[in-house]
Amino acid sequence: MNLDYTPDQKAFRDEVRAFLAENLPERLTDKGRAGRPLTKRDHEEWHAILNSRGWLAGHWPTEHGGQGWDAVQRHIFEMETTAAGAPRIVPFGVMMLGPVLLKFGSEAQKAHYLPRILDGTDWWCQGYSEPGAGSDLASLRCEAVRDGDHYVVNGQKTWTTLGQYADHIFCLVRTSKEGKPQEGISFLLIDMATPGIEVRPIRLIDGSVEVNEVWFSDVRVPVANLVGAENMGWTIAKYLLTHERTNIAGVGFASAGLAALKRMAKGQMDRGRPLTENPHFAARLARIEIDLMAMATTNLRVVSAAAAGQAPGPESSMLKVKGTILRQEINNLAKTAAGPWALPFQSEALEGANDAIGPEGTRRATATYFNNRKLSIYGGSNEVQRNIIAKAILEL
């Protein structure tokens, strides 16, 4: 047993660090640290910087503009970028659609879409969920009916993250009502400039706008935009769920969140001592750190198995449950640490330049706590993940 990175992996880590030191704009890390939302331009700027080094989609094969990174390299890259406070890569194009096209797309689709994801021409969002189809995704109803060389799409998607920035949406649509519900679903690429699409924002509990409702009425989509075969959408969606989840534990986010929490808590005085010296607070902080140390290794165990060629299966469900619980625990303790400064409603919607109340580090604690309740809901809720563990690992 050896818990160290190999010399090659260490060299790669140093290379990533050096790149970040040189190229990560301070303006963006400052924004992240203050918890201010990134604009579309901010995301595009960071994507372009990474892309200039060939690292925006490092896990893609080299012939498509990636580096062919294995799971350990991806992990190193993710850990280093989050530790440095870099914006996260917007996942929809790079992490989701890209791998789907690489596996199931036609040559024409690959040639057309992949470069446009990398150079930022297209901004994708994910249209799976519907009002009636959340955990039970296979019950989705948004319908695509064949009409000549087009599909005509009618229905509604919801919870579409960053749909307000997107110009393209990849959708699961119903193309057949025969057989099992899973067998009548197709994976369709839709240009959001097509007539008949309407996007409406949903404001979240913390005041932020990051999700949307998307309506389709008689939207005509070329048949050439179908990925894979008709009624093969469920297989594609499942492939994504099991193969593209190396960062699902969010170890990097948890580590960065814990470090920020410690910094903030040290500065809060509690009955004449720093809050970190309150034994009850210190105990909770320590418990989180102990859990995180173990989870980081659980994550690495899965990552290195994946690098050795084993597809991460239901293990990713374990990582999702544990990882989201830990991050939410960190968010909760940060809200606690903020003390009375948790009370002011400091929404990104209200945020002007100088009107933040309370010490830096406390200001976004409540908003982040509430916003991150989503972590255990989306991407397959933690209840659904536990069902998967019970069925697929425990065979119950």
Binding site: S129, G134, D136, R203, L204, I205, D270, L343, F345, N371
Partner: protein
């Protein structure tokens, strides 16, 4: 032993519930005599028992109301009455009172007052900063604490809110507060040695906010049970999934614990053992509040994190209870100290 309410309390409960569900205003609530129910007769009111506070604030919580009844009714009127002031006008709803006590570094420590009071020929002047002063932007009267010198007792003053440098902002889950900068601000001395009356009113405010939390929990519980019954996934109501049933059952058990904790405090608010009960109740209510907030959102799925759906505001209000008058950690430590 008798856990039932008096006839008057039941009438108050019914009346207030009806009033608040039809969007009861400050004036209407005052007109019902609710503020007077928060003070005992010897202080000018006509209630003031722990159970009176429990009844009133449970309804405030149930309705998710952000009327500043704790600030004007419990803290404001309570302190004025304790300082021998006439409170008739306050009980009639004629004033909104904010208490400017906490400071940027005080966290939940009631004794932490650095604001300085200086007396010169034309009276008292206060200098310092007051923080997260709830309802200050709407207050017609402002009570301020300060010390004449370092280790002197805390003194209670009144300041004209119109003469102030005040920075208002909204609170999470409703209501408003302000940061206040005092710079040789003229003030009237109400009481020179106010430590005991501050402890007393804060104990009562802790009971009030704990009862409010209980009301919020009850509303959230009703909303969540209703959602479990109506939301369908996989062809059945999600309330048929045993894991959600158990979770909801646990919430019920814990909410009953919170109710008992509030009853305990209501029953001990005027006894020598008061402070230990304050600590116990606020600690327990804070823990349960967290559970109720997080589990109710989780069981709702995506809709639980939206602003539009009722749960969001109720959950935010409930979550903020842990950030006033001491949080679970603060009261855990207090409980250990007081139990030693």
């Amino acid at each position: 032993m008798d856990f039932s309410l008096t006839d008057e309390q039941r009438m108050l409960q019914d009346g207030l519930r009806r009033l608040l569900t039809s969007g009861g205003t400050w004036d209407a609530v005052a007109e019902m005599g609710v503020i007077g129910m928060l003070l005992p007769e010897e202080k000018g009111g006509y209630g003031g028992a722990g159970s009176d506070l429990m009844v009133v604030f449970e309804e405030i919580g149930r309705a998710g109301s952000d009327l500043p009844l704790i600030d004007t009714g419990v803290l404001g009127a309570g302190l004025l009455a304790a300082a021998g002031q006439d409170v008739d006008d306050v009980l009639a709803g004629g004033a909104r009172i904010a208490l400017a006590h906490a400071e940027p570094g005080s966290r939940y420590d009631l004794a932490h007052v650095e604001t300085r009071a200086e007396e010169n020929v034309d009276g008292w002047r206060l200098t310092g900063r007051k923080s997260v002063v709830v309802d200050a932007p709407n207050a017609t009267r402002l009570l301020v604490t300060a010390r004449p010198e370092d280790h002197a007792p805390i003194a209670l003053f009144e300041v004209d809110p119109k003469a102030l440098d005040l920075r208002g902002y909204p609170l999470t889950g409703g209501g408003e507060a302000a940061e206040i900068a005092l710079d040789a601000t003229p003030a009237t001395l109400l009481w020179a040695d106010a430590d005991a009356m501050l402890a007393d009113t804060h104990a009562r405010a802790t009971l009030a906010i704990s009862a409010e939390a209980l009301g919020l929990m009850e509303s959230i519980r009703a909303l969540t049970v209703d959602y479990l019954r109506t939301r369908k996934q996989f062809g059945r109501p999600i309330g048929k999934f045993q894991v959600l049933q158990h979770r909801m059952a646990d919430l019920l058990i814990e909410i009953e614990q919170a109710r008992s904790a509030v009853v305990n405090l209501a029953g001990h608010i005027d006894t020598p053992d008061r402070d230990r009960h304050v600590a116990a109740t606020k600690n327990l209510v804070g823990e349960v509040a967290r559970l109720v907030v997080e589990d109710s959102i989780q069981m709702h799925g995506g809709i639980g994190v939206t602003e539009e759906y009722d749960l969001g505001r109720l959950a935010k209000r409930l979550s903020m209870v842990d950030h006033r008058f001491g949080d679970t950690l603060h009261h855990l430590e207090r409980f250990i100290e007081l139990s030693a």
